[in-house]
Symmetry: none
Subunit: 201 residues, 4 copies
């Protein structure tokens, strides 16, 4: 709702966001009541409405507060000319982020299923990943390093989805039982194969 104008207000708001994150992770989105949050933040019910219009709004604030952690690309290192190394680096960065934020990813999934407004957020977050990958595919095709028979958009969608779902199953639902390195290796090999890319000599 409104932005805090005093030091004290800023502290209250921060406490609420922090409390909300804990409660959401613990109870899930639907089972979280406003009073759970104010209780955890150790402040009055009414104070919640000083800063947020409703549950959605705190949820957005929570997501905002963790966006950095999720999206630190840190594709810092140069992989030189090896296209497979580049693919691997991107996959590792993504999958590791999912692993580290598993609870929030699960939460986001849940909220996306419930609330239309968050579906967009989720898609957008995914889209950045997909577009970066589409660009990579196009580049490799131009350089003759990847199968030119593939539609780069569709391929990026498909492969990004593959990696993202794999990460979800390995680190969120744990229905796939595998370590990060194995998941990265498998994803990278499939990805490279799928595009017809091979390691630089």
């Amino acid at each position: 709702m409104s932005t805090p104008r005093t030091e004290r207000g800023a502290r209250t708001r921060a406490a609420l966001v922090d409390a909300a994150r804990h409660v959401f992770e613990r109870e899930g989105y639907l089972d979280t009541r406003i009073t759970d949050i104010t209780h955890e933040a150790d402040c009055a019910t009414g104070s919640f409405y000083t800063y947020f219009a409703d549950k959605e709004e705190v949820f957005a604030a929570v997501m905002e507060s963790v966006r950095h952690e999720m999206l630190h690309p840190q594709l810092d290192a140069q992989q030189g000319d090896d296209p497979v190394a580049a693919i691997e680096a991107a996959n590792r960065a993504y999958l590791d982020a999912v692993r580290r934020n598993a609870r929030l990813v699960a939460l986001m999934e849940q909220v996306g299923a419930i609330d239309v407004r968050f579906r967009a957020w989720r898609q957008e977050t995914g889209r950045a990943f997909i577009e970066r990958n589409a660009a990579g595919i196009r580049r490799l095709q131009r350089e003759g390093l990847a199968d030119r028979g593939l539609d780069p958009e569709l391929a990026a969608h498909a492969l990004s989805g593959m990696v993202s779902r794999l990460g979800y199953q390995a680190f969120v639902t744990r229905e796939v039982d595998a370590k990060l390195d194995d998941v990265v290796a498998a994803a990278t090999r499939l990805w490279a194969n799928a595009l017809g890319v091979s390691r630089a000599a």
Copy 2:
């Protein structure tokens, strides 16, 4: 709850399941009220509780009633010895089922995200698909037609996930704008490439 013992009871129960399916599709799981269902089925509130303990239970019944449609294997045709044709057939069958039942797939996705008990159901449904694919991959590896460096389970997971998510994005959320044939083609090509399989001469 209990099973109808008379013809009339069977009719009422069926009417409730049918009504529930419509209301769920129209309103979504969370926004569906028991009275919406009984109203649509044109019977009293209490009648609902004659057959179901709660919303979850009707939902399970709805899902049960559509399982057939979803799981019609109909991989009837023989693809001869062409492994790529076999992959294509499987992908087409799956993706077409998703396309035809888009609303229910969306629903299942939503409910799975909300209610733990349905996550199992969803996983199981997916597992059948994955296991079939894992078997296929193993066979191709044995015959020397697929990359032996891949873990067949992980690969099956990854590629099945890829196809399933692609279908979801193409036919449920429509964030990917593509026709069935194109999706099938892209998926198949990526899948075949990923495994290092090529068309039979």
Copy 3:
């Protein structure tokens, strides 16, 4: 409601009364639902209403069916001229009946608390006991064997109440931990003392 006119009807009614007794004892009066009874009696809900108007009516029928067991006076033996032996015999008969029908006594207590109509039944059952005792006290007073300063009605009320409550606490709630013989002995001695009666020489 109506009395069975056929053999089959009589059997159904009897099954319902029997089932009701079991369910009442198991669940208590309030928690017993009509369907619990028909279920236990293995007949349809509607059949209940062929014989009883409501729960109260079956309950009355149950009580009727066990009245004998509760009220078998069987003060058969002659205690000769010993007034204390007579008092003891009466107390033993009463307390033993309570012990044997503890569950039903508890039930009657419960229903009496809930439903005004059964309070009368309970009082009447008690009244018989009290009046018999009042008559006994009056006789002893006439014969100069009991304290003539006591109001016989009030004394009968008080002492009967004493015995009845003692029985209740010993055999129903079990808050008094004592064997039948001890309870009979204590009650008798107090009773005799209270009236100023002593054993025949």
Copy 4:
């Protein structure tokens, strides 16, 4: 449920307890609806749940609020050395309390019969009375003033039960038609006789 933290909250809670007492007395426990209470207390339904989890909990609060009145011993006066006078004083105090709180005693009786959780409360309240009496009996036995052939616990149980039931029948159900003084006199005489105690010279 939770305790009020403000003056206003305390007032609302008190109004609810007070209203509950009236409604319970008027309607009986079972026929009292939560809305009857909030209506009488002139507040919203939800406010009830701010302070109480359910009907049982208000009932406990009502009972708590009247415990004092019931348990004011006020056996202030000294009865000197006359044991019968002491017995009379105790009986009068108890019976008068029952007379003054007849409606609540009836209520407690009803609820105790219905709800297991209150049986304990009722028993405990009675136990204090019984134990005090057992101590008195033991003392009289030691001093050679009471029949040593009696088990003091059982006798205290029996006689306390006698008085309590007499009070119940005289002032609650009114099936015994007698004035306080007569009831006290009869109870005391029976009690003294039963123990074999006689008035000090």
